[in-house]
Amino acid sequence: MINIIGLIFISIGLAFDVFGCLGLVRLPDVYCRLQAATKCVTLGTCSILFGTFLIVGFTAAGIKSLLCMIFLVLTAPVAAHAIARGAHRAGVKLWEGSIVDKYAEDKEGEAQNRIK
């Protein structure tokens, strides 16, 4: 019974992985791609690891998969945040249909103050 529940968790995680990669292909600029891919692939991989834990049980591999899950939840948003900040500082433009960019406005203000 618990093996069936684990297989259901693995299937859900697999579907979210495929949706995240589809978002990586379809969406128009770096920030949207980063959003879709980080959310979907993080939860999908965590779901696959939790299914592995349910099937294997409290053995060495099961405990290690739980630790790996906690590690992924803690580090994947930090990596996404670092890549987004680096891309914005490197001058990657937003998509032309985007509505507002407060960050670029504030950065320009700081640069003008520094020149004065």
Binding site: F19, D29, Q35, L43, G44, A84, L94, G97, S98, D101
Partner: protein, 165 residues
């Protein structure tokens, strides 16, 4: 000193989980290794060790924060799946600015992680001196600072203030 002792216990527990089922040889080697780790980097990671001693913080973390976070995470995934599979691609992206009242490093890190994994938002930069976060929002509903703060930040800020401050 207190921070090094708590770092020793954290490292020792993680070592025991990595060598599951632990016997006495693993425990001896783990004691030496985690003592070395605690001596080297103890006061870098845990700067305020008295926070770890309150049981009510753990209660708030496991009962209020964790179920809310998992539910928001699941909603975020359904939202992304809807936007990706829709043929007209319904996105209105933009970077907005919100204010926060949290001050400590750990609380700001957890706030940024929660914002990144909840529906439609991702944190781009943190300005710690002014208490300002820049957030990339895939479906911009408002450009105003205060109302964006009310929509995005407030539900996490109330719980995180009780846990980490």
């Amino acid at each position: 000193m207190k921070s090094r002792i708590s770092m020793f216990f954290v490292a020792f527990i993680v070592w025991c989980l990595f060598n599951w089922v632990p016997d006495w040889q693993h425990l001896v080697i783990g004691g030496f290794v985690s003592a070395f780790v605690a001596f080297m980097v103890g006061d870098l990671f845990i700067t305020r060790p008295h926070v770890l001693m309150h049981p009510s913080r753990y209660w708030y973390f496991f009962v209020y924060y964790l179920p809310m976070f998992l539910w928001e995470c699941f909603k975020a995934n359904l939202d992304v799946a809807y936007r990706v599979l829709h043929p007209r691609l319904p996105i209105y992206p933009g970077i907005v600015k919100v204010r926060t009242k949290l001050t400590t490093d750990t609380a700001l890190t957890f706030l940024a992680n929660s914002i990144t994994l909840t529906p439609g938002t991702m944190s781009v930069d943190i300005d710690k001196d002014n208490g300002v976060l820049y957030i990339h929002w895939i479906d911009v509903k408002t450009k105003d600072v205060e109302s964006a703060t009310r929509i995005i930040v407030d539900r996490f800020e109330k719980v995180l203030k009780k846990i980490f401050d």
